[in-house]
Subunit: 531 residues, 2 copies
Amino acid sequence: MVSQRMKYWGWGYENNGLNKNQVHSLIKILAQDFGVLASSNIKKPEVSDIKLHKPKLIPPDSLLKFCTNEPYERVLHSFGQSQPDSIRIFDGDFKHAPDVIAYPERSDQINAIYDWASGVGAAIVPYGGGSSVVGGVTPDIEGHYKGTVMVNMTKLNKVLEVDETSRAALIQGGAKGPELENQLKPYNLTLRHFPQSFEHSTLGGWIATRSGGHFATLYTHIDDLVENITSITPSGCFESRRLPGSGSGPSPDRFIMGTEGALGIITEAWVRLQGRPVFKLTAGFRFAKFLDASLAVRSISQSGLFPANVRIVDATELQVNGAGDGTYTLMVVSFESSDHSVEPWMKRAEECCLDHGGIIDIDWRENPDTNLKGAVGAWRDAFIRMPYNRENLTPRGIISDTFETAITWDKFEEFYWAIKDATQQAIRDVTGQNGAVSCRFSHAYPDGPAPYFAFHCTGKPGGMLEQWKAIKYAASEALIKNGGTITHHHAVGRDHQKWYEKQRPKLFGHILKDAKNRLDPDGIMNPGVVV
Amino acid sequence: MVSQRMKYWGWGYENNGLNKNQVHSLIKILAQDFGVLASSNIKKPEVSDIKLHKPKLIPPDSLLKFCTNEPYERVLHSFGQSQPDSIRIFDGDFKHAPDVIAYPERSDQINAIYDWASGVGAAIVPYGGGSSVVGGVTPDIEGHYKGTVMVNMTKLNKVLEVDETSRAALIQGGAKGPELENQLKPYNLTLRHFPQSFEHSTLGGWIATRSGGHFATLYTHIDDLVENITSITPSGCFESRRLPGSGSGPSPDRFIMGTEGALGIITEAWVRLQGRPVFKLTAGFRFAKFLDASLAVRSISQSGLFPANVRIVDATELQVNGAGDGTYTLMVVSFESSDHSVEPWMKRAEECCLDHGGIIDIDWRENPDTNLKGAVGAWRDAFIRMPYNRENLTPRGIISDTFETAITWDKFEEFYWAIKDATQQAIRDVTGQNGAVSCRFSHAYPDGPAPYFAFHCTGKPGGMLEQWKAIKYAASEALIKNGGTITHHHAVGRDHQKWYEKQRPKLFGHILKDAKNRLDPDGIMNPGVVV
């Protein structure tokens, strides 16, 4: 059996993607409802046609057995999943392709890669599932490096130990979502961390980037599910004590989370698991206005009910994705438990929705499978399909991207308009016409939401990269100027670095640089990211 | 009206404490039930009798208006609230008394203190309520410092801004628990962070030490309630962005939390508030065995019910504190909400207790005021009284201390016996007879409890400090050897530093030292703590 190959030009496996009807429908809605027009239909470049420079590095014999410089591998590891990545792929721009791809199967092999890379002056880019949408794994390495080595962690993909009593497991950093869930299933336990990239992202990647998952409240980031971290750094092993909680000095784990491979590679972590949910309820509500729906989210977020899902999707976002007609905002509320019926929880959440003008779209009393029905089900399907959109839109000259943030409730309404306006204005400035700018909430806290914006606009073939940069710049400036965070869970990567540096306390930037000097004295780890 | 003076020899205000009957009862129980005998009755030293060295530092005129070297102030600031502190107070050991006590009323005055202290080579010890039980504010400064300046933050005690929409407030670091709650009351909001030290500890101190509060589950540490931090360091101001959540690089706040004044002084923080609870239920259960009760706690912790209280207290702890007859473990379960009735929550938690052999002691159906009734009420009274015990036991030659930790459930039972045995063995080795060693849970997580141990034993007047050190050493070694944390919420201070260094990843120790060099290049901030 041949294992499935990953696409180098888009999302997931080569044989997965949108079917013709789905592509047609997406293009049609963008054109007819939003005036966003396809202007070309470029074919994806074939590996054999891509001009790759000769590898600048050849690993020593001792590393050769787990390293490759095969063209497909170099092409695959040239990009992540961002909009600029996609544009450059279809432009055939592979000048920065890495020289070597390493697939370590043991920790000591990572140390061996570090030693070799330090010696020859190479840069290292840690690579999990390659799903970064912010340039976190795109090896645009500047400076005097002699070449780039990608360290693909996906062969370190085992659940090493399960502690059923504490509901926790020791899992290797390279385990992808489905792999680790399959290994936990026999124990009737689950990590239940489902970022949109779930299928093609890894535990180590989630921790390194502070991934946001399934739970819309409470355990929003992977941060909350981590008991300890083992990270291999060029200066040695950084291993924290496995504990359910501690107050012993600043948390070492919280300092490693979010360093995005700039200080080392996360090889293992003990993570907190959940019992598999037995009781589940899902409800859907329609709101005339997005901001009314946001008030319902606020009241639920401050209620202490902690729903697994409390997400609102505006009319535009539903419409673009074929899950609504553009006349209403959808709110999805779910509760789940391995322990008890969640009816009292849902009853109260429903009251919060009705109090703020919500109209029942899908009644949770019609359980089971309310999560598959009506607008809720249509949105769910669209959500799963969404990562495949980009590989179809970019070659047709349509720029499409998302960015997410967080803001306290007091500032939210003003913030919402400021971000939408700044993005729409930038699209007009850059393309000469309006685009589709939409918003949903990915997560919600008692003190504020995590709004998630998406935009689509007509691009100019050959000029899309510059157009995207101008829109991204305007949106990012607006986020920082209006008090938001440059990212809630997409991470910093290379694309957000400029604004991340504006956001973080200046002294903390110095602390990170000092930590980099300490853990990675030769500066070989993911240069240009976070630090 | 004269404001109340703080005791320099014990807990709280000079005119508060145990009454004669309460002291008599405590001494009698320890003697009759545990063979722990009072062997002396030393009087507290009077300020006029305490030999203080002449102040080694005199602040310049510009600082004089908010600095003092008055003997009472120097005596008061010579110690925190630990057992060794108490022993040294009654021994009249004030050799290390600080030279100057500063009471800044504005941030710029803190900068002025730093400048002066750096210039003259003085050490600075940040001081909130002075409630540290681990030597965190005891100015035992080693090295070539020319003297010690205590920075008492309690004049910076205002709630500066309340955001009712997001339920958050900007509060100064020197605000004590009752002060900040009183200022929040008009808004019908509350921080609801109630460490046992609540009355005499400050928000800045809580954040600096990762204090553990009221909530036994979920929001256990103050960490979870912090939106941002402003810390003044000798290298400038460290201010993070106020956000409900973020994934932008490692959390700057989580790096400051737990640094215990070694990197700066926390002057302000935005914190998350709660609606004042309207719905409250409390139940009490008796268990024949502590370990059976622990299984009930585990099942509730893993249920997703998130009770405000789920604490178990063993038979010995109840008996020592006059709240039980030594035949049963008590479990207290409480739910509270500002939003909805918590009956369904309590019903399910009760099932978990009954499933594990619990017997109803206080029935929540008899609400209200079940938290004041029976064993639950007796334990509550004892808990409030407890901080006053030490000032009565130390002068009578009784050593009494507590320490807390956390451990995953899989290791808990073995850990429990190992810690109890090591502590009891150390008491026998040191005193020649058994002491009382008890355990309760202060907080509980899905993956493990935070056990809180207490011990009482007969000391040898004049030798108590060495005796305490030997017992503390044995208990601390056992915690680290058996996989626990050296502290769950009491902090590191000077007393835990040795074991904290064993616990933390070696590379993280280097990172902290580098951060210290960056933020406090002259090493003036709380030397000997954390870093």
